[in-house]
Symmetry: C2
Subunit: 694 residues, 2 copies
Amino acid sequence: MDLTSLIWLAPVAGVLSIVAAGIIAKDVLKKDAGDDKMKEIAAAVQEGAMAYLNKQYSVIAIVGVVLAILIGIFIGWQTTLCFIVGAIFSGVAGYTGMNVSVRANVRTAAAAKKSLKDALNVAFRGGAVTGLAVVGLSLLGVSGMYLIFGGNVQFVVGFGFGASLISLFARVGGGIFTKAADVGADIVGKVESNLNEDDPRNPATIADNVGDNVGDCAGMGADLFETYAVTLLAAMMIGVTIGGGRFVALPLVLGSVAILASIAAIFCVRLGSNNKIMQALYKGVGAASIISLVLFFFVILFGMGDLKYFWVSLVGIAITVLMVIFTEYYTSTKYRPVKEIAKASETGAGTNVISGLSFGFESTILPVIIIIAGILISYSIGGGFATPSQGLYAIAIAAVAMLSTTGMIVALDSYGPITDNAGGIAEMSEQPKEVRVITDELDAIGNTTKAVTKGYAIGSAALGALALFAEFHDKVINTVPPVAVKTITSAAGKDAYNHANALAQFSIDNPLVLVGLLIGAVLPFAFTSVTMRAVSKAASAVIEEVRRQIRELGILEGKNKPEYGKCVSIVTGAALKEMIVPGLMAVVVPVLVGLFFGSLALAGTLIGIIVVGLMLAMTLNNAGGAWDNAKKLIEEGNYGGKGSEAHKAAVVGDTVGDPTKDTSGPGLNALIKVVNMVSILTITLYSTGGIFFH
Amino acid sequence: MDLTSLIWLAPVAGVLSIVAAGIIAKDVLKKDAGDDKMKEIAAAVQEGAMAYLNKQYSVIAIVGVVLAILIGIFIGWQTTLCFIVGAIFSGVAGYTGMNVSVRANVRTAAAAKKSLKDALNVAFRGGAVTGLAVVGLSLLGVSGMYLIFGGNVQFVVGFGFGASLISLFARVGGGIFTKAADVGADIVGKVESNLNEDDPRNPATIADNVGDNVGDCAGMGADLFETYAVTLLAAMMIGVTIGGGRFVALPLVLGSVAILASIAAIFCVRLGSNNKIMQALYKGVGAASIISLVLFFFVILFGMGDLKYFWVSLVGIAITVLMVIFTEYYTSTKYRPVKEIAKASETGAGTNVISGLSFGFESTILPVIIIIAGILISYSIGGGFATPSQGLYAIAIAAVAMLSTTGMIVALDSYGPITDNAGGIAEMSEQPKEVRVITDELDAIGNTTKAVTKGYAIGSAALGALALFAEFHDKVINTVPPVAVKTITSAAGKDAYNHANALAQFSIDNPLVLVGLLIGAVLPFAFTSVTMRAVSKAASAVIEEVRRQIRELGILEGKNKPEYGKCVSIVTGAALKEMIVPGLMAVVVPVLVGLFFGSLALAGTLIGIIVVGLMLAMTLNNAGGAWDNAKKLIEEGNYGGKGSEAHKAAVVGDTVGDPTKDTSGPGLNALIKVVNMVSILTITLYSTGGIFFH
C-alpha cells in the first residue's frame, strides 16, 4: 500500500469531522432550551461571551496583520497566506465551539429537569462539537495547505504560527478573563457579602459564567488546535529529512484514522447503570485510543511494512494514559495529595498553601520520568542511536499518536464550562433543588476533566515542541560556516569534519548556548509573574465595580437588578489590555535573542523554555487543581466542613490556585509553542553568533 | 614577578585570617555577658545549639565515613584524605562560628544597655569571627592540600566534596531546624495563645533562637565555605588546562590578598553620626571590595603582565554589587515589591500570596540578565571566542573575584542570628524598653542582610558551578571513543575530527543530554517539595509538644516553667531525620544518572540543575524575604497596622515564605554544588552512554 496516495484521506477526514460536529450541534440545539427565566440568563452569558470573543479577535487581528506583513516581507508571501489561514481556522474552531457551548449550557440545565443521563448527554455532546471542530479544522488546514503548496512543508509552518498566535492570545486573554471574573465574584460576593456561588444578586456572576467559556472552551480549544497542527508539522518535516514520501504521509494518515476513531468513540460515552459520570467519559477516551490503535496497526503494517512505528504509537498512547493517571492522582479528592492539603488547612492558610505548593512541585516528578522514558524508548525503537534523525522521527510519531485522542480530550474539557454554566443557570433561575443536585454532580466532574486536560496539553505540547526542535536544529546546522582544516584534504573528509563541527557548536557549554538556556529558563518565570499580576489587576477592576453596584444600586436588598453587562465589559477591557505584554513577550523575545546572540543562543532558549516551562506549568496546574479540590473536599463535610476555619484556609489556597491553574499554567503551553514557532519561522534571518558575536 | 613563587601566600593568609578571627573572638568574649537572667537564657541557647550541632555532625559523620570508603575504593585514597580534611575544616569553621555567635548574642544584648554603637560593634565582630574562620580555613585547606600533594589539583577535588557534604547537610538540617522551630513557636505561641515573639512562656522560644544560629550562622557558613573552595578549585583546574603555572597560582594569590582586604575592612565598619546601621555594614563590604580590587590590580599587572584578568575581576565585583542591589530591591520595605505585597494583604491572604509569588518569579529576571552579561563579557575579555578554555578561565576568575567579599558577607549573615538572639534574650530577661528598641533596630537590619547574603550565595554558587562544569566537560570529552572516518587519512586530521565529534556529543538535542537536562530540571522541584514538606512535618512535632506543655503544665498561667530543652530535642530529632532524604538525593541521583544513562546525560543534568536551581532558588528566597518584610511593613503601622485583617493576611504570606526562604531556597545552593562535586569526582566511572545506551 502506498501511503502517499492516501494523503487525500486527511482533508476528507477533516471535513468529515466538521460535518459530524455540525450534525451533533444541530442535535444539541434542538433540545429544550428551558423556561424564559433560564433563556434570559443564558442569553446574557451568550451575549457576553460573544462580545468578548469579537473584541479579542479584533485585537489579535491587529497584531496578526502586522505579523502577516512582516512575515511576507522577511520570509515570503506563501507563508503569510498559510499564517492567515491558520489563524482563521483556529479562530473559526474557537468561535463555533463557543457558540455551541453557550447554548448547550442552558439545554443541559433544562435536561437536568428530566434525568442525569439526559443532562450528561447534552453536556458531553455540546463539548464534542468543539472537540471535532478543533481536530477537523486543524487536520484539514495542515493537509489542505500541504496539498495546495504541492507538498512544500516549509510554507505550512505559517499555518502553525497562525494557530500559535491565536492560541497564545486566546489562552492568556481568556485565562485572565475567567480568573479575574471568578476572583472578583468570589471576593466581593462570597467573602464580603456572604452570597452563594451564582447568586443572581452578584453583578459579576454572568461575567464569571462567561469566563468559563472563554477560558476553557475557546482557550483550551485554540491551545490543542495548535499543538495538533504543530506536532503534525514537526513529524512531516522530519519525515522530509529522512526520506520524504510515506514518511511525510504517515502522520497525516494516522491523524485521519484517529479522527474516524474519535467520531465513533463519541457514541461510546454512555452513562452506565452505576451512574458514574467520570467512567462514562473515560469510556470515550478509551474507545478513541483503542480504535485508533487498531487502525494504526493496519496503516503502519501495510503502509510502512514494518511495525516499529506501531510500537512507537503505543508509547505515545501510554504517555497519554499515564499523564492522565498522574494528574488525577495529584488533583482528585480521592488520593493522598488533596487529602493532605485539606488536612493542612486545619492549621491555617499558611500550612494549606505550603502543602499545596509542595505537592505542586512534587507533581513534576512522575510525568518527567514518563516523558524521559517515552523519549528514550521511541528514539531507541526508531533506531536513533544508529541514525539520529530516524530516532527523532519516532519521537514525533509518538507525539502524533498521543494526539489521536485530542478530539475526545477537547470534548471533555469543553464539557467543564457547559456543566459549570448549567449549574449557574439552574441557581440563578431558581430551579428546584433536585435539578441543582444533578448539575452539581456533572460540574464536580468538570473540575477533574479540566485538570486532566491540562496535564495532557502540557505533556503533548512538550513532546511536540521537542519534535519541532529537531527541525530547528537541522536548519541551524546548515548555517554554521565551514572551517578549513589543513590536515583534512579529501572533500568527503571535509564534509564529515564540518558536520561534526557544526553539531559541536550546540554543545551545552558553548557560552552562547548557555546564555540562550538561561534566557529560555527565565522566560517562563517572567511570563508567570506577568500573567499572575495581570489577573490581580483585572480582578481589582471587577472588585471595585461590584462594590460600587452594591453601594449605589442597593442590589443586595433587591432594590435594583445588577448591571451584569457592565461587569462583563470591564473584565473584557481589562483582560484584553493585560494580555498584550505577555503575548508580545512570546513573539519578541526569540527574535531579539536571534538577532543579538544568534541562532545557537536561540537553540538554547528553545530547550530552556521547553524544559523549564514544562516543570513550571505542571507545578502551577496541579497545585491549583489540588487546592481547588481540597476546598471541595472540606465543603463535602470533611475536616470541619463548610464555614470552619479549615474551610477559610482552603479558600485562600483556592484563590492562590485560580490564576496559577487557569491563567499562568496553561498560558505556558502557548508560550512554549509560540516561541518555538517564531524561532523556526525566522531562523533563516539570524547568523550563528548574532550581532554581538558574529 | 613569578606568581607561582607566591603560592605560599595562600596558606599564610589563611592562617592569618584564623588568627585574626581568634583575636576578635577573644575581644568579643571579654565583653560584659549581662546579668544572671540573661546568662541563664543564653546558656540554654548555647546548650541547645551545641547539642544540635554535635548530633548533626554525628549523623553526617556516618554518611561521611561511608562515602570516604567508597571514594577510597573507587577513586583513590589521596582523594579520600582530602575529602576528610575538607569535611573537618568546614565543620570546624561552623563549630567555631557558632560557638562565638551563641556567646556574642547575650553580649550584644548587654551592650545594648549602653548604646547602639556598642551593641552593633559586638554583634558585627561576633559575625566577623565566622566570616574570617570560613574564608581562612577554606583557603588554608585548598592551598595546603594543593601544596601537600605536590600541585595535583585532582586530589584536592576531594576537599571540595568534603566541604559540599557538610554544606548540604548543614544547610538542609539547619534550614529545617530553624523553620520548624520558628513556625511551631509562631503558630501555637503567637496565633493560638496571643503571646509576643520571644515570650518566655512559649516553650519553643529557645528552640527558635537556637534555630537562627544553626540555620544562618552554621548553615550559611558551610555553604559559602564550600562555594569558596569549589570556585578556587574550578579556577585552578581550568588554569592547569590552559597552561598551568601562574594560571593555577592566580586564583590562590587573589584569594590571599582578598583575605587581607577583608581583615582590614572589618575595622571600617563604624556607625556614622547618622546612626544608619545598614550604611555602616555596607561600608565594610565596600571597603573589602575596593581594597581587594587595588591589590588585584597590582597582582595581575605584575603577575600576569596583562590587565585583562583585572577587567574580569571588575566584572565579578560588579556582579556582586548588582546582585546585592537587586535582592534589596525585591526584599526591602523601601521599594515597590514589598509595598505592593503589603497593599495586596488588604484584600486577604490569597492576594498577598499571589502578589508575593508573582514578585518572586519576577525577581529572577534582573539577576539572570546580570549573570548572562557577566558570562559573556568575561568570556569575551578572556578571549574565549578564539580559544574557549581561555574564556572559561576568565569566567572562573570573575567568580573568584566575586568571592573576594565572602568573609564580609558571612560576617553580615552571622550578624543576623546574633542580633535576633540578642532581641530574644532582652525580651525573655525582661530588660527595659530602651534596650529592646536598640536590639530591634539591629535585628530589623538582620532581615535585609540575610536576604542579601542569599542573593550573593546563589549567584556565586551558579557562577562557580558553571566554571566547574568546564572541567567536567573536558573530562567527558576525553572519554568519547574515537571514530574512524575513512575519508580522513592524516593523523592530525583524525584528531581534529575526533575532537569536533566528541564536542558534538554534547549537542542539546542528543536525547541523552536532553534526558539529563530534564532530570537536572526536575531535581530542584523534587528537592523543594521534599524540604518544604520536611519543615511542615518537623513543625507539626513542635506544635504538638508546645500544645501539650500548655495543656499539661499550665505554663501560660505561670504554674510551671516551660520545658525548653524538650522542644529543642524534638526539633533536633525531627530535623536530622528529615534531612536524610533530600541529602541523599543530591548524592545518589548523579551517580544513578551516570551509571544508567552515562556521562553525556550527566552533563545535561549538571546544566539543568544549575539553570533551574538558580531560578527556583531566587524565586523562593526573594518571595520569602518580601513576604517577611511586607508583614514588618504592616507592623510598622501601614495598611492597617498590627492586628488588622491585612496583618493577618501578611502573617499567612510570612508563614509560606519561612520554609521557602530559609530551607528550600538556600538548600538549592547546596544541592547544585553537591551534584556538581559528586559528578566531577565520579566521572571517570561512567561510560558515555551508561548501562542502557553503551
